[in-house]
């Protein structure tokens, strides 16, 4: 019962905030609305017993990426001539496609209680993830290393693309 209530609460939070983010006229307010969506998702992860993932979600997405999005939004001039209708159309299209894809995937899935128990069981998720890193046949470490390489690439790209402005010597 508690879990169901929590599920509906998080679902409402996630979808409500997502809609708010989509429909709000002010882009900064939309970004703030994303906070609710991200926290709602973190709630889902907690319900699925993935604490570490939930906390990572909050730390990285809410505390990091959202901050950077806002930082970027506040520094750049606002776009005023955007048409709202077009945005909604795109959104409906994306959601529709997503729903179709989900339906295709979920149609054949088997939902039973055993899976739920399996999910709820492990307590030390941190330990599991740590061990996963060290397993010989795991792709987790190469995956993370690849992200570091990508980061280096991004930094390099920013440096190369950096523009230099002539200024009066003052």
């Amino acid at each position: 019962m508690g879990e169901v209530l929590a599920f509906w609460f998080f679902a409402a939070l996630t979808i409500g905030c997502a809609l708010l983010a989509l429909l709000h006229r002010n882009v900064v307010n939309s970004a703030f609305a994303l906070l609710g969506t991200l926290l709602g998702l973190a709630g889902f992860y907690v319900l699925l017993a993935a604490d570490f993932l939930a906390m990572t979600q909050v730390l990285i997405y809410a505390g990091g990426i959202l901050v950077l999005i806002l930082f970027g939004l506040m520094l750049t001039p606002p776009v005023t001539n955007e048409r709202r209708f077009g945005r909604i159309l795109v959104a409906v299209a994306v959601v529709g496609l997503g729903a179709v894809a989900f339906w295709e995937k979920a149609r054949g899935a088997v939902w039973h209680a055993a899976a739920r128990e399996e999910l709820a069981a492990p307590a030390g998720t941190v330990r599991e993830i740590g061990l996963e890193f060290l397993r010989r046949d795991s792709w987790l470490l190469p995956f993370e290393l690849a992200s570091v390489v990508l980061l280096a690439g991004l930094v390099g790209a920013v440096y190369i693309a950096r523009r230099r402005f002539p200024r009066e010597d003052v």
């Binding site: 001039p77 002539p166 200024r167």
Partner: protein, 390 residues
């Protein structure tokens, strides 16, 4: 937004500034009520993120028509108004005005009065520099040095209170001499202060000036070159901070300064470039010590005698004529240009305030600096808005 850039050859006086993100310029109003503008100065800043791209000062929020008032009250009645231009160094303002009027009158005050005037002016200089250094700490974000500075300033205000009854606006040094002689025990109090101050000075140095963060914030920030300082008519610590060896007390001595032994402190580039914010503060710091030395010598040399010129009464009627006298105020050259037509009221009374000229340059230092440097640079100029606006 111009992203023209690396292809075009640089024009003279330009340099390449690297910016990761070129953002929309923001116009912000620093003041008239802002903690770092030391009163009601308003600086309109244009900023690209944290970097300033333009600055414009707007004065006049404290304009009290001092020059106009000077044309409607008589020579002696104007004296209290001088207290109010640079309210942190009112003794020096009194002195500057009194000397100008005395020049117009053609009189010299008795020697004892001259010594007491020097003592008061120098104590007042310490007083003013203490506030300058302390509030500069506030501008940089250090609160505590301000209180340390005010602790010693309080002793000085007691000294002033003892001799003239007022703590901030004195109207004590007046055309023709002084309001009254020093009361009994006053010289001992001053002597005790000079001994104490030398020890306390070290505390400000250790706590604020030699602090790593303070040095990082002020060294190489707001550099004024020697030529710039001279061309813009900067005076006082602003000029000496840029390495120009010029002090009216030594180079155009008035009162008894030619009998006193003191050094003119000049910016050395002690932690950065000559003429940066650190140097201006450095000059103020060491000037306090020199003033302390001057006071000591004056106490030794001071003769007994009269303190008032015998011929000067309450109503002054200088002969038609004009006079300019500039003296070394804590902030630079405070000049009075007086024009008399022989009446008891001035025909024209021009006040040349040091902060006024110094501030004119400051707004040209801001573009290219960071927002936090704006506080550091305006603070290092040490303006008193009462004087820029008068």
């Amino acid at each position: 937004m111009d992203d023209t850039t690396m292809e075009r050859p640089l024009r003279e006086g330009e340099r390449l500034v690297e910016l990761d993100v070129r953002t929309q310029d923001v116009e912000i109003n620093m003041g008239p009520q802002h903690p770092a503008t030391h009163g009601v100065l308003r600086v309109l800043l244009r900023a690209d993120g944290e970097i300033l791209t333009g600055a414009q000062s707007h004065l006049g929020y404290l304009h009290r028509c001092a020059e106009k008032i000077g044309e409607s009250v008589d020579w002696l009645q104007y004296l209290p108004y001088t207290d109010r231009y640079d309210y942190l160094s009112a003794m020096n303002n009194n002195l500057a005005y009194s000397l100008a009027v005395e020049k117009l009158l053609g009189i010299e005050v008795p020697e004892r009065a001259q010594y007491i005037r020097v003592i008061l002016a120098e104590l007042n200089r310490i007083c003013s520099h203490l506030v300058a250094v302390g509030t500069y700490g506030l501008d940089i974000g250090a609160f505590t040095p301000f209180f340390y500075a005010l602790r010693e300033r309080e002793l000085l205000l007691d000294i002033f209170e003892k001799i003239c009854g007022a703590r901030l606006t004195y109207a004590f040094i007046r055309p023709g001499g002084l309001m009254n002689d020093a009361p009994a025990g006053w010289t001992d109090q001053v002597r005790a202060f000079t001994d104490l101050f030398e020890r306390k000075w070290r505390e400000y140095w250790d706590l604020l000036v030699d602090n790593k963060i303070f040095v990082e914030r002020t060294a190489n920030v707001g550099v004024i070159s020697e030529e710039q300082a001279i061309a813009w008519g900067c005076t006082g610590p602003m000029l000496r901070g840029s390495g120009v060896d010029w002090d009216l007390r030594r180079d155009q001595p008035y009162l008894v300064y030619d009998r006193l032994d003191f050094e003119v402190v000049v910016g050395q580039g002690y932690r950065g470039t000559v003429g940066d914010c650190f140097d201006r503060n450095y000059v103020r710091m060491y000037e306090m010590l020199e003033s302390n030395r001057i006071v000591r010598q004056c106490l030794e040399q001071m003769p007994e005698g009269e303190i008032q010129h015998p011929e000067v009464g309450l109503v002054l009627r200088p002969a038609p004529g004009e006079a300019y006298v500039g003296i070394e105020n804590p902030r630079g050259e405070l000049g009075h240009y007086l024009v008399s037509d022989g009446n008891k009221i001035a025909r024209r009374l021009r006040v040349r305030g040091p902060s006024f000229s110094n501030l004119a340059l400051a707004e040209h230092l801001l573009p290219g600096c960071m927002l936090a440097d704006a506080a550091a640079i305006i603070g290092s100029v040490d303006i008193v808005v009462g004087e820029t606006d008068r």
